[in-house]
Amino acid sequence: MKADDIDVYEISRLLYSLRDPANREAFRAGAEAYCRRFAPGPRGMRLLLARDWQGLVDAGVSVYLLTKLGAATGVSLLQMGAKMRGMSDEQFQRFLEEQNRRNRPLALLPDEARPPRT
């Protein structure tokens, strides 16, 4: 098998298996051993072990499967997003706050629910 081989179906099967709490526990106990139960290919293995979220997306892995790996390893969607954007968690938080402020005039809310203007 070539070093750049990757099998997205096998990676997907691996991540899908993390819906089972026993499998999440096994992954946390030994990520590489757990990944070897599947055949992600050498490059797939590297991306998984490095938690290279964007690399996995670029290879064709669904983000809805990556969230299962995030759940198993304590990485939130926001943390994943910051990594994909190449930002620190704090930088990403500031981006979102700025975006909230910019978009607020477009909100349509029950009057009593409209957030205070800042």
Binding site: P21, Y64, A71, G81, A82, N100, P110, P115
Partner: protein, 278 residues
């Protein structure tokens, strides 16, 4: 004969579920969203529905890549709560309206919509993030109906519209006297990969809501790629709003709409009262 008494579109998102489960609904950031849901829930309760048809999409929690139906309808007596990685949320199974579900399955096939009947389905946040805010104690039995927006090839928005039209005719041809609400979940804008991760396309979201109100059928001419370009890759879930709207009579009007662009999402909730031709 059954009648559609309400249409509801609403976002679904793990963030809604997390806030609900952690008792964080009243935080200043999320209170506007939960107030909008509370208004929608009161509005829907007044429509006194006997069954809820919930059009949503699975996120690789029930279906997998071995086979993924373009459209599926749940025909089970009850539905389990999926474990999306954090353990199943603490809800009892959701009761299904089996007779209506079987009627819909048969009628849709006759109308040329080849859908799959699922006799066992686990519900994920596509269903479960908004539904406790809409019918907290599962008082009204449901018919879950899924659209594939995950594994290519995907059905076209035009086909999702046709699904909704056939659903409307299926409900109208159900023999028992039943009041049915149709709910479509998903969207609006969000992008969960790449350098634009977290980008919210608020202008497009507002335009989408306006189109859904005044010219809904024009949205059936968009492609999935159009929706992905306009609202982010993962906003294509809005086809579930299209199918909901298509199930209602053409003359129906939007009675309210709320929109809250916050964090990773353009959250929206809108209610439609089915009209009758003059």
């Amino acid at each position: 004969m059954a009648t559609i008494v309400a249409g509801l579109g609403c976002s679904h998102a793990p963030s809604i579920a997390h806030a609900y489960d952690s008792g964080n609904e009243r935080s200043p950031a999320l209170a506007p969203l939960f107030d909008a849901f509370a208004h929608a829930a009161r509005w829907l309760a007044e429509r006194r529905a006997d069954a809820l048809v919930v059009i949503y999409n699975d996120h690789v929690d029930n279906y997998f890549f071995d086979a993924w139906p373009a459209f599926s309808v749940g025909v089970a007596a009850e539905y389990e709560i999926a474990d999306e990685g954090w353990g199943p949320r603490r809800f009892p199974p959701v009761p299904g309206h089996r007779a209506l579900a079987r009627h819909i399955a048969a009628h849709l096939l006759e109308r040329g919509i080849d859908l799959t009947a699922s006799h066992r389905m686990q519900l994920d946040h596509g269903f479960l993030s908004p539904m406790p805010l809409i019918d907290e104690h599962w008082r009204v039995p449901v018919v879950p109906l899924t659209i594939n927006v995950v594994l290519e090839p995907l059905p076209t928005p035009a086909r999702c519209w046709a699904l909704g039209e056939a659903l409307g005719s299926a409900i109208a041809s159900y023999a028992a006297d039943l009041r049915v609400a149709v709910i479509g979940t998903g969207g609006l804008s969000h992008q969960l990969t790449g350098s634009d991760f977290g980008k919210v396309y608020a202008e497009w979201d507002r335009e989408f809501l306006a189109l859904l109100d005044h010219a809904p059928q024009t949205l059936a001419r968009y492609t999935m790629a159009d929706f992905a370009r306009l609202g982010g890759e993962h906003s294509i879930e809005v086809v579930q709003w299209l199918a909901m709207r298509a199930a209602l009579p053409a003359v129906s009007r939007m009675e309210f709409s709320y929109y809250y662009p916050f964090g990773l999402m353009g959250y929206a909730i809108a209610g439609f009262r089915p009209g009758t031709a003059a």
